[in-house]
Subunit: 287 residues, 2 copies
């Protein structure tokens, strides 16, 4: 722990933490917030190293926090203590647990996925293809998702379904929004996620020989009647507008997910989960 606890709400570091809730401050600084014991622990486990870990022992809920602080310090993170009221100010949770990290953002490109989809050359196997347990890439592409909570839930579903990578096209929310971090329950740290333009993703899928199957209520084919085996990218549209014309035209197949009820159509996170797990079922369940 470096120095005495910060007790002033006017402290510039405190103000900086509050600002990181806004996208502009995140974009400009290239940093983002990771709040909560579970989230910080998963970040460390996934190799995400915070620059600073703010803590406020009066808010701690259990007895494992000191070990987490030590683990963070070991990776080079500065550990800074905040007074209870100051932590209440910087926390964006209903029930703070006294841990809030600041970490540098990262950026993956389509080229980084070459190893993931099993077609590229890994640094240690330049002479041939990288060995992979599954030969058939299983990807999720989401377009223009608006709500951070939906994007986080989609990442979580993709993780549960064993998806190899998630491609986020033309996003409205940024990947490092605190609600994406939270609703993904840390999957953001471990799942390969690439943000890219739709046309670029479409071209890359073609190069890789990965079939694009897009979901739209207008499709004739039921999602469960389609063959979802082999190299597959499931394409899901935005909450409000669905998929763009581009993906509807450029996909190899359009499928629809049925809806029996009277309420709004399934939200995009629910629809993604249903389609993903039907693909899992067809591809042979691994768990």
């Amino acid at each position: 722990m470096s120095g005495a606890p910060i007790t002033s709400l006017q402290n510039p570091r405190v103000k900086g933490l509050v600002k990181l809730r806004d996208r502009r401050a995140r974009d400009e600084s290239g940093r983002f917030l990771i709040e909560g014991y579970r989230e910080v622990m998963r970040a460390l486990k996934a190799g995400v190293t915070p620059s600073v870990l703010y803590c406020s022992p009066e808010w701690f809920l259990g007895g494992n926090e000191p070990a987490l602080l030590a683990a963070a310090a070991k990776t080079g993170a500065e550990v800074v203590e905040l007074s209870k009221p100051v932590f209440a100010k910087v926390s964006y949770r209903d029930r703070p647990d006294g841990l809030l990290a600041v970490a540098p953002q990262w950026k993956r490109t389509l080229a980084d996925l070459d190893a993931v989809v099993g077609r590229g050359l890994s640094p240690t196997s330049r002479g041939g293809r990288k060995a992979r347990p599954t030969a058939d890439p299983f990807l999720l592409v989401v377009e223009a998702i608006e709500k951070p909570g939906n994007l986080g839930t989609i990442l979580r579903s993709a993780d549960a379904a064993g998806v190899d990578a998630v491609l986020v096209c033309d996003p409205v929310t940024d990947l490092f929004n605190p609600n994406v971090v939270r609703s993904s329950t840390g999957v953001l740290f471990s799942m390969p996620v690439v943000v890219a333009e739709g046309a670029e993703v479409r071209a890359w899928l073609r190069e890789q020989g990965i079939r694009a199957v897009a979901t739209t209520p207008a499709a004739e084919t039921l999602y469960s009647a389609a063959d979802l085996r082999g190299p597959l990218a499931l394409i899901m549209g935005s909450e409000q507008y669905g998929l763009s014309e581009f993906w509807l035209k450029e996909s190899e197949l359009l499928v629809r997910i049925p809806m029996a009820g009277e309420a709004d159509s399934l939200n995009v996170a629910m629809a993604a989960m249903i389609a993903l797990f039907e693909a899992v079922r067809q591809r042979g369940l691994k768990a």
Copy 2:
């Protein structure tokens, strides 16, 4: 509109509205809150008649609110105007839209489901069974759900899957929690939901000849390898503890939903959705 707008935060009606956020006040009064244009509209459409509809025109987002007020008044609801700051106080939303109704709670029993499952005698057909488009009941049973948001999402999924009724056993949250209302997107008003004890539900399912299929991570049978056709009740456990010994022992079949990822297991709402839509797939999609 009855009289001048309420402008005092000390007004007893204002205090009563805030109290209805607490379960005790809901239980004692037998009333609950319905906030928001969409929710109030769906309540009216489903035949739920508010006793009072509070409105605050300065918060209105569109132009359709007067028609909704008129429709509510026509069902006998008292329409009461609140000043902008008073409405801000009684709203539990981040972005209030100037509409908040109070309505009487209702209670359905297993006997009320006789018509739904197609085995009972409806009042107009005492000589025989009530005609129903689907002969095979499709039910969802949830046990001891803790989070109102999960219960609401489960109701929404059940609606999308075309479930006939939801049975809520030994609930921790009450059905009329504002977050159930909100996250169900109004499905609470239209879906037959019965709250009952587990043993009672189990006995009723037997009487009706409905097979209980319970989901648990410990099961050997994959959910997608099980036959989910015919009269079916899918049984889902609580967020933290899963299903009780009772259901694990008393169900005809245990199935598991696979999980590939590293994060927490699927939450109960996600697992319910996956199991429900596999049943929909097997039973022949209707939408």
